[in-house]
Amino acid sequence: MRHLLGIEGWRRDELEAVLDRARAHLPGGPDVTHTLRGKVVANLFFEDSTRTRTSFHMAARGLGAGVLNWSPSGSSTSKGETLLDTARNIEATGPVAIVMRHRSSGAPHLVAKHVRCAVINAGDGTHEHPSQALLDAFTLRQHWGGLDGRTVLIVGDILHSRVARSNLWCLKALGARVVFCGPPTLVPPGLESLGAEVTHNLDAVLPHADAVMCLRLQMERMGEAFLPSTKEYSRLFGLTPAREERMKAGALVMHPGPINRGLELAPSVADGPRSVILEQVSNGVAVRRAILEVCAS
């Protein structure tokens, strides 16, 4: 049993073991294996999610496990039950793993200190989203073989992005160079000392990237004065068709979803030949099967 609270701290060989294992779960492999037969995986999603929740659900079913789906609406959370009480009660039903998403950074760490089953972080606040980073790396490996020496450019609201943080650790550990690009108000301090490069000039760095990952821009950031308008953001940091033309030959376009079409990413680029966005989604199930196997069995 092992928790997956974040990618930070995982070694290259450990990450590669998960990614190698995920390959066996790709379509064409066995539809259902029996690694977790008779076991239950609890999905605790305190925050809305379509992709991740469905993906973990399918992954658990694909390993033969039952899935307990829990959400805060209609639960005792609305009656003021604490996070720890909820988690302990779910644990008491006997799952081998709790897959949880929560709006507070560090919430899965708190739960992990108080339960005996594996805790898998499916996104905590603005901290990490480890399974997303693993499926991103998996997708890149499918295209490139390995990540060594490749440059991945991550564009957008880095400050509030758990995808950005998990990808930093994951891509770095696998040998890639990570460059962050966004407006100064949405880039947190100290990223350089964590091993990333930072720029605010998308056009200067774009031609050097082997893959560009656009992050979702959340609309409430306008109200908090991080940005003046979506229009200006799009002009400065959106991946437009004109910008796409200046990308390297063969360079890939990624997005963790959901997309604001026409804002951070032009529809023609999202659906164009460079885009691997839907591959990311379908790889998600295989990668999450591997994560469940490594953590819960």
């Binding site: 930070e8 604490t82 996070l83 720890l84 929560h102 507070s104 950074s105 560090g106 919430a107 760490h109 708190l110 905590d124 606040g125 603005t126 901290h127 990490e128 758990r162 943080r165 947190p188 301090p189 100290g190 990223l191 000392s193 964590l194």
Partner: protein, 434 residues
Amino acid sequence: MNSTVLFRRGRVIDPRNGVDGVRDVLVRDGKVAEVSDAPLPVPPGAEVVEAEGRWVLPGFIDLHVHLREPGEEGKETVLTGCRAAVAGGFTAVVAMPNTKVVNDSGLVTELVLSRARAAGLCHVYPAGAITKGLKGEELAETGELVSSGCVAITDDGRPVMNAALMRRALQYATLFGVPVMVHEEDLTLSAGGAMHEGVTSTRLGLRGIPASAEVAMVARDLVLLEETKGRLHIAHVSCEGSVRLIREAKRRGLLVTAEATPHHVILDDRAVGDYDTHAKMAPPLRADRDVEALRDALVDGTVDAIATDHAPHGVLDKQVEFEKGINGIVGLETALGLTLELVHSGLLGANRAVELLTHGPAKAFGLPGGHLAPGAPADITVVDPSEEWTVDAHRFYSRSRNTPFHGRKQKGRVVQTWVSGRKVFSDGQVKESR
């Protein structure tokens, strides 16, 4: 009870009176009677404290303590807070007014004082609110608060965001000669923040509180201080930028004093570790360069006092998501050990360390005590500077256990505390008079 006590052959460190050496201290009728180089004869009937190898110090004074009464007696009461104080070597504490019935009136001040008299352990000096209900809207009646026994006014826990109101508070308080104690935090800059803004907040994905949230307010209030010729005390200084501004203001002769907590000079923001809510406080633990600046400020006198900001909270206040965790830690029973860490590592002289716990705070607030000249109150703390021990939060006298220092090894411990010539703590036991 003996009214005469002789402390024999201890190392007396009394920074105000320039004493640091082996002395005998004779106490009579609650006051220091004599401090002598040569051994004194034992007066008939006197209690003798053999203090060889120990430090005999003026009782410690803590300018910043939350006793939680009235209103949150589940966290602390005046009695349990006084127990924790004397166990930590403190003979006087200043009680913050942000209780659940705010101390913004003489009535509440008198309640706290009567609880303190009933506890009969150490001196309790209430601080009154600057504004009614700590709302930052109207001035509380400073005159009534002071005549009831308040020694300072503060909205601690909250800043006074309205600059005009702050300016008038400084002006008005000059009528009574009490310092205006401020919690410096620009709420528009700290909004939503859970820890210091820096590499660690970036790593952990927690909204950061930039240093400017404190420094900008320190700058504002020093400007107001200069205009008003008032008296300002800056609570729990945490940033390099604040240190620089206070140092400069002192050099120019403004009446400003400042305190630092042991935790802000011992820990930096990395102590948050894996979202440990015991490392969550306001102001937050800052970067290592801030810690260094604070240490320098302790040495050069920019900071006048070590104050604990003793902030008791229940388990449920801390066993939650980091963002939801309540700010603050208890400090009375760990202050000496942490301060001595700086002495053992050579960063702070023993003399200066003692001054920061005694004469420094006494002078900042104009309180009695803090030294051992004949005639001074016999508030005395005896310390074994070499005893090694481990912090055990379960054995605190405080009603709360919220500390990041549980399990930390310490060298140097309080062995006795005397208040007005009465032994109130000895060999690990609080001695209540009843």
